[in-house]
């Protein structure tokens, strides 16, 4: 009542020009607290505006100050609270401010909007578990933590799996390939006490280790071999990044280094080509080459993708929510989001010359001759004047858009299709690197512009002839790699209001998330971000990384939502174990192999995966780990295993993508029938699944059927579905039928004995064990039904390649 009286008085005073008596603490803050702080307070700050502390009120929102001292009428605050326009008026719901309240605000602003100093800092750090520093708990092993919890629940762990199961399990988990029958036998009969450890060490040292674990990392990077979107052009050099990952993992590059090189390898002092190639991580964003797409909008989408991918991959945070508003649940503000985004805004895409071993010599030997012949052809057809004119017309059309419809369209298409087009359009051909200059000429020869295409048949003909001749020239390969580079001309970063690329708010500087880190240094670069992410100061990176390794080795993470360590994610089932693993990881120099060895050596990992009735009812999801888990293999491994068992596998490591057999009609689904699938020849077809060319709009059907991710956004954990399409795929796909035939042939060749010896062998090849009597009898019956000949062995092979056990890591 008193307050109301006071407002009434103020209202009268204001009307009569007596404004000096308004007091911020008594008159203004209560209005804000009562009417505004729900949306503009400690819990959330819509549009970045906070009205619960004096300094924040003066600071304003993402679009700038809301109070102009001395000028109430010019102040957004007054404009919004006194408006009756829906969507503009504040508060947006509930009763509007009273006339007296508005009068008080006016008087306060007109009198100079003076505020008292803030009371004691109220910034409170979040208490959420994952944002707290990692503390090493007391305890000395994985089994200690797991068993302590089981004991508390009154449960016994399961016995160790038998040796044959164990070697198949650890082989599939560490190298992604099944053990050979000989390896199984050797291990099964190895009586040395450290037999298992020797096996683990051998697998960790295998070059196939890098392939297996690269696949998990490529899911996070959302690696693909094409641009995505409508045009979905092939990215012929994308594989360089995959190659880098495989090598880095095989060398057991420490995870902090692994992190820094992928995020900012180009900014390291005296960076090697390899370190720059690592930034290919950031090049897996989609590119929309639809000609009508605004280039700025596509770039914005790419920066959003990079920000989200990095935060999920390393921080386990769903920062994407903050693209449009402050995170509803986690303490991530929109400012934090765009401060992180700003690191990537200051980078641009580049293609660098990154020759592979042995390429440089032949290339440079052949180059002068090649360039000379190119010039000769151009001169002989008198192309240079046409080319010069085209360049001038393109740059002119770019500078004066709207002057000529046909050239406008030519520029729009060029900007969509030619990477770094603007560097040429703004600065001329000299601004392009040498390999880009060659590409520009090729572009011209294919697209000589409307004046020639539509009206100058003679020149068009000449260009065609020159192009044909030029195309016949060849040069030894000299590989390029897609990377990131610093962009000194990058625009300043602004908050994008509502996540809209056109709607700019206040400017922000690159900075690490404020709720997790200390004040960022001035002029922070991507390298600052990378080093902070990979530092012990960051409470998330190590936890997120070890949790993912755990996920791949047990089928689920200690934190099930491995992509979300925020308040909406699951809490860890064994928080102390997670912190212990994170500490071990950092204390052992961020060695991924060391922590994986720690896990696979544990008794917990080595347990049998058989379901136990006593546990099943109480712990159906196997959270407590009273047993191991049976895991349906990832798509690539199902194929790898079939190829390995049948002897068809080509074990070559690294290199370009391959195209195995794909049924007709799949690639044709791509836009305008532009996607081509030319099957690889020879042994390339039988390379491992992670090398299969990934065309984003028409993915290889087998991969999609078995839950391979779509590679458009980051994927932290795959699903493991079970569908009839998978059954059809394994039963009838020519790739698997060929594997069955190969398997039958291999049995025929390798085993001289009778049915029993052969059935033992084929079982060991496919499942790593010998058949039980019941299995042997059932297969004998089938074998006889099928005529007991060569075709029957193909049949037996098909049966085995379709068993649940075959697609499962026991």
């Amino acid at each position: 009542m008193l307050t109301a009286m006071r407002f009434l008085l103020l209202f009268v005073l204001a009307m009569s020009g007596w404004a000096q008596t308004v007091d911020y603490s008594k008159d203004i803050q209560p209005i804000f607290t009562k009417r505004c702080a729900g949306c503009h307070g400690a819990a959330q700050q819509m549009s970045g505006l906070r009205l619960d502390s004096p300094s924040a009120v003066i600071k304003g929102s993402y679009t700038g100050p809301v109070v102009v001292a001395g000028k109430a009428a010019d102040s957004k605050l007054i404009q919004r609270v006194s408006s009756d326009k829906k969507g503009f008026a504040m508060p947006p719901v509930g009763a509007p401010l009273t006339a007296a309240e508005i009068a008080a605000l006016r008087s306060w602003i007109d009198a100079g909007a003076t505020v008292p100093a803030d009371s004691a800092a109220r910034e409170q750090k979040s208490t959420h578990w994952s944002f707290q520093p990692v503390k090493r708990p007391s305890g000395d092993s994985i089994d200690f933590f797991i068993r302590a919890r089981l004991a508390k629940e009154g449960l016994q762990p399961s016995p160790e799996a038998d040796r044959r199961t164990l070697i198949r399990r650890v082989s599939l988990d560490l190298v992604g390939l099944p053990p050979t029958p000989r390896e199984v036998e050797e291990f099964a009969s190895d009586q040395r006490p450290d037999a298992y450890e020797r096996l683990v060490d051998r697998l960790l040292a295998s070059q196939h280790y890098g392939e297996k674990w690269a696949r998990h990392w490529l899911d996070l990077a959302h690696y693909a071999d094409s641009d995505g979107y409508e045009k979905d052009q092939v990215r012929p050099n994308a594989w360089r990044y995959r190659h880098w990952v495989i090598n880095a993992l095989n060398r057991d590059m420490p995870f902090d280094e692994f992190t820094i090189e992928q995020l900012a390898g180009d900014l390291l002092p005296n960076a090697t080509v390899d370190q720059v190639v690592a930034t290919g991580f950031l090049r897996n964003t989609l590119t929309n080459r639809e000609a009508g797409v605004d280039r700025a909008e596509d770039r914005f989408e790419q920066l959003i993708n990079r920000t989200n991918t990095v935060s999920t991959t390393w921080l386990g945070l769903t920062m994407g929510c903050s693209q449009c508003h402050n995170h509803k649940f986690d303490p991530i503000t929109q400012k934090d989001y765009y401060s992180m985004f700003a690191f990537f805004e200051r980078a641009e895409e580049r293609s660098i010359e990154a020759p592979l071993a042995g390429e440089s010599g032949p290339y440079f030997a052949a180059l002068p001759d090649y360039e000379r012949k190119r010039s000769e052809i151009l001169e002989s057809f008198n192309i240079p004047p046409l080319y010069a004119k085209w360049q001038a017309r393109m740059r002119e059309a770019f500078a004066h858009q709207g002057a000529n419809l046909e050239w406008d369209f030519a520029v729009t298409s060029f900007r969509a299709m030619f990477d770094n087009a603007d560097r040429f359009l703004k600065g001329g051909v000299e601004k392009l690197e040498r390999h880009e200059q060659d590409r520009l000429l090729d572009y011209f020869l294919n697209n000589p512009g409307p004046d020639i295409t539509n009206r100058d048949k003679a020149s068009l003909e000449v260009i065609k002839q020159a192009h044909t001749k030029m195309s016949a020239l060849s040069l030894p390969p000299y590989s390029l790699a897609p990377v990131m580079a610093r962009n000194p001309e990058a625009p300043a970063t602004h908050i994008h209001i509502g996540g809209d690329y056109k709607n700019l708010g206040v400017e922000v500087k690159p900075a690490t998330p404020s709720f997790l880190s200390k004040e960022a240094p001035e002029n922070a670069t991507r390298l600052t971000l990378a080093k902070w992410i990979a530092s012990r100061d960051n409470p998330l990176t190590a936890r997120v990384a070890v949790n993912r390794m755990w996920q791949e080795l047990f089928g689920r993470g200690l934190v099930v939502t491995s992509e979300d360590f925020g308040t909406q994610g699951d809490r860890p089932s064994h928080p102390e174990l997670l912190d212990w693993l994170a500490s071990e990881f950092m204390d052992h120099g961020w060695s991924m192999k060391a922590i994986q060895k720690e896990i696979v050596m544990s008794a917990t990992y080595r347990q049998s995966s058989n379901i136990r009735k006593d546990v099943e009812a109480r712990d159906p999801e196997n959270v407590l780990l009273a047993r191991q888990s049976r895991i349906r293999l990832p798509a690539e491994l199902v194929r790898d295993e079939a190829l390995a068992a049948s002897g068809l596998l080509n074990p070559a490591i690294g290199g370009r993508s391959i195209r195995p057999f794909q049924p007709a009609g799949v690639a044709e689904l791509g836009y305008g029938h532009s996607v081509k699938w030319k099957e690889s020849e020879g042994a390339d077809r039988y390379r491992r699944g992670l090398y299969i060319h990934y065309q984003r709009t028409t993915p290889y059907p087998f991969l999609s059927n078995f839950d391979g991710p779509e590679s458009n956004v980051t994927c932290s954990r795959r699903r493991r579905s079970d569908t009839p399409l998978q059954s059809l795929n394994l039963l009838n796909d020519p790739v698997f039928f060929e594997a069955a035939q190969g398997l039958a042939a291999r049995v025929d060749k390798d085993v001289q004995g009778g049915f029993s010896d052969k059935i033992d062998y084929v079982f060991e090849l496919v499942l790593g064990r010998k058949p039980k009597t019941s299995e042997r009898e059932r297969l004998a019956k089938y074998f006889d039904e099928q005529g007991a000949g060569k075709a029957a062995w193909v049949g037996v092979s098909r049966v085995l390649l379709n068993l649940d056990e075959f697609v499962t890591r026991e």
């Binding site: 995505g228 979905d232 929309n288 639809e290 000609a291 009508g292 797409v293 605004d294 769903t318 929510c321 649940f329 986690d330 419809l405 046909e406 369209f409 939502t561 979300d564 308040t567 058989n610 379901i611 009735k613 099943e616 159906p620 999801e621 049976r630 349906r632 049924p663 007709a664 689904l669 791509g670 836009y671 305008g672 029938h673 059927n705 839950d707 779509e710 458009n712 956004v713 699903r719 579905s721 079970d722 569908t723 009839p724 399409l725 059954s727 059809l728 795929n729 039963l731 796909d733 039980k772 059932r778 297969l779 089938y782 099928q786 049949g795 049966v799 379709n802 068993l803 649940d804 026991e810």
Partner: protein, 478 residues
Amino acid sequence: MTLSDFKRIQSRRAFFKTCAGGIETIALYQMLARDGYAGTADRGNPLAPKQPHFPGKAKNVIFLFMEGAPSQLDLFDPKPALEKIQGQPLPESLIKQTKLAFIKPNAAVLASPRKFTKHGESGIEMSDFIPHTASCADDICLVRSMFTDAFNHHPGQLLLMSGTTQVGRPTFGAWVLYGLGSESQNLPGFVVLSSGVGTSGGASNFSSGFLPSTYQGTMFRNSGDPILYLSDPPGITKNMQRATLDTVRDLNEDHLGATGDAEIAARINSYELAFRMQMAGPELLDFSKESAATLEMYGVNKEPTRPFATNCLLARRMVERGVRFVMLMHASWDQHTYLNRDLKKNCDITDQPAAALIKDLKQRGLLDSTLVVWGGEFGRTPMVEIRKTSDPENAGRDHHPLAYSMWLAGGGIKGGQVVGRTDDLGFNIVEDKVHVHDLQATMLHCLGFEHTKLTYHYMGRDFRLTDLEGNVVKKMLS
């Protein structure tokens, strides 16, 4: 689980096999639950039929997705006023804020050369390019006030199909399958058919996004196997395939006994369903029992209707067999150039079969429970686009997201009416704006869903098809 447990369930399962579709798997899981495998049984069959939020009129959807953006001004939305300003720019006030994909907003107006006439009792005006569709006027709800946020193809298609312009979300069919499950024991619940060329969106138009891949659209192909890997490998007879599957089943059961993992039971089921699909596929494609009149009505045996007609007839046959969501794509309607020639070409292919689909569903009593939708990701401009000034026939239209037309018919929809109105120049909507999110909300309503409640928790929050928007358009409902 012991082997004897499983055998017991199997024998009971044999009993359920004779019951109506869908029950078998549920029954299996219910029994697993009763027998003490509660945890694993909860993970039951994700495709089991489910009840929506309230009884919906539609049980199935056939989405005729006309990829590339058909020109509403030449098919559905007559604008005689454009003739008066043919060749001139639109009024300044109208185009001030406009941004277009290719042309400048001040490009000249192109009045439609089409002849529009009134059709049916409802008197809906449609153009001479689509006489067959026009003959269904009284069954159609023509929405002339569609609008969208995107003006490029892939983002526009994603918005229409998944509720957002970003990649990675589940699409319409996936949401419907997730919400309603499948009625078919022998066919996938969400099927995609295509004719013409490939689409901008490719597989992202029928992706399950972050929903389990069980819900993703299964592409029925036009050549070779209708479903990938449906036929047995060369040299494998049906008997051999059955014997192989029997052996696989027995060995899987054996292993189920050894490990006790109910996931193996699920895989046994998947193999049985796969085998039934192998039987059902050829039966579905066999048109020999369709009457000559039906085949003729669709135009199955003549050009240029054949490919689209085949897909329309397949769509009806799938709905009869319990397929929940059929998406039929035809590409491309992206007539930036040669509008008269290429638009006619598309209409000649699609008009008769699409109309036949409505008539056929109606005469079989299926239209009331089948929601049929026709349309693309946005519309086309009243202004002309010319890429080759030397060729007068080259004229076309650019992308126009601000106002375009779609039509709906069947389950839950009130036919014989026009919803919404655009201004005299066809540039903006002046009455009853329908955003693609509103269309999605309305379609979900027809299926019995409160669109705000059909959600899936992912990455820390609940997602839905209509993103954060969408209102049911009551006028469209019967």
